[in-house]
Symmetry: D3
Subunit: 140 residues, 6 copies
């Protein structure tokens, strides 16, 4: 029916604690750069995650990708791993990596990318709050 | 004032019933592939449609396209056709085409594309639910 | 800590088809009263349901009611019953009852009321669309 | 112009970490009752707070209460105290009190109640997530 | 089916300009009390209006009130009157009345109250912004 | 960690009055082209602005750009300038320029572009209402 690709999007959510800190820096520098996001005992967010998958719809199903399969994959790879966790303390992904929205989005992309057919392109959008969000990789 | 294009977006909504089914397949295969979306007596959605139109603003009006004209066009071509309908039973567009979000978005694109100045680029985004949505054609 | 009651709210969603029709009336009357909501092949909605439960928080847990328990109850009693169904054809609750938002809300209230501790007060809010919604019982 | 009261509402937001735990119980009981909300290293939320104030509008201003004054009061009493904090570790209010949504709403009510003219009635609504929220005191 | 009342809600929107000013006061007092809302050349809002109507559902229709009738009434009485208008300059309702959200809600209530069956109770909620809104009459 | 760019987004809001008018045209032409948006005494909107900045995250901070810095820049350059103003009468930017959403987005882009590191790409999205919005420059 078409020779152009379609993008499909699935939204999931998780709640996690984090703090921003660069362990190579002293406390004063961390406080100056990260402000209240550096407070020592963590704060947290309701993260909303939107995963975008691009491809040609299968003519038999009309699906680029079965949204139930995509939802289950996000739950298995992302939500189980990060929901109700402390990103800094409870996850190996952020042991040596500052859990900024940018870095969380890149980690999630990598977790999902290897599980999704490489013929399909992928992008993730992550809302830290309704007013702060990121996309990876950026469309330029 | 600028040599770069502007995108304008108009959001409209419609409510419709549908079921997912491939008439070339037997019942068991349809149930396996489409799950509860294959249930025989239909279910339904509040579809949110966002139409994006890209072009240079007219220096006399400051408009890429008059949003009232775009809104009226969407109502005439899409909302009148699909609102409060059963997509499988009541529309010629989905007589032989599975009404997945991907296919509905492509049908809507085709309905609008021929009515909008060809100098303007177009894209549609269709929300089946707040957590499942599609875009056509995908930006790659 | 307090002698005043607290209300807790849990939101769940389901997608269903329906049409409005009074089987005691002829077709012309049904079309006149219910307009496009009476179209014969059904249309559908993403219904958002908010269940409100009022009581004193348990001093040991700080909970009026465990939201996981409330969520599971709503899923078992309401979502399993109505999600991806045709309310007119697939459910015994609406065999002889017009599935207006008012009636759906009353049916849901009755389904949940008997399963929730009678010391707790209850109310349901049901969104048929973001612009049309109902509450039962009304606070007057 | 009227002899009936008007309610005014102001919405503010804060991001915090917490965990649910009853220090009188052993670990197994806490895990059983609070599930993943009991995980030891905390998780977090974007809390949305809506404060409702009820009274007669001042005929000179047309205000029940100046929303700028109400917003500043919420920021001073609630946002400064809880934003980017760990509710369990960083606040005296939840030292011996389980930070459930119910308890947070009651604490916020008490913090604001003493600062707002006693002729005005007050209620708070607190969203822990878009699907879980509470109101205090409940209207019964 | 029930002996309890049901509330039905209809949401509509309008866009208007206004400024807050008490013509009995001098400029300095107005600026002090109303701040930037007093700026002389007006500012504006996308107002969202939710009208609530409470009553017993008609057993023949399942409706408390036909939402199409309610929507048409709001458009005729409120939207036509205020949409794309300057509330201070273009409307007789706010000639001598400060267009605060409180006062706009009361005016809208009065415009609708006389047109709706007196057996039905009514309330209006008006959003000036997503963070500032009012209800009239308040439930106390 | 990556060789691909990340986009970060910050949302801010302002409330303003405007009317659409081309001073080179007579009244009848303006009324015909701009309809109720041309009404002489202005109307207004709650404008939501989303600024997108694209670049490589700094490996020391994990930030493409500090969102606090971006938020402060938007407030200083855009919100202070336009919030609670009449765009036609109170701003030099729209003295000879019709304040359509397209033109407002282009003006905001220019105000911010010169203040943000030229290595970073930029785009703005402006919501005039939840149903009408624009993006500049468009991705084509």
């Amino acid at each position: 029916m078409t020779d152009k690709k379609v993008a499909v999007f699935r939204k999931e959510s998780f709640n996690a604690a984090h703090r921003l800190n660069n362990s190579m820096w002293d406390t004063a520098t961390n406080q100056k750069v990260f402000g209240k996001c550096n407070l020592p005992n963590y704060h947290g967010h309701n993260y909303d995650l939107i995963v975008k998958v691009i491809g040609m719809p299968d003519p038999k199903t009309g699906f680029v990708m079965d949204m139930k399969v995509l939802s289950d994959l996000i739950k298995e790879q992302v939500i189980e791993r990060f929901d109700h966790k402390n990103l800094n303390l409870d996850t190996k992904e952020f042991k040596g990596l500052n859990p900024t929205a940018e870095n969380i989005a890149m980690v999630i992309y990598d977790l999902l990318r290897s599980k999704i057919d490489e013929k399909l392109q992928m992008q993730v959008r992550l809302y830290e709050t309704p007013r702060n969000f990121v996309e990876y990789p950026a469309v330029v």
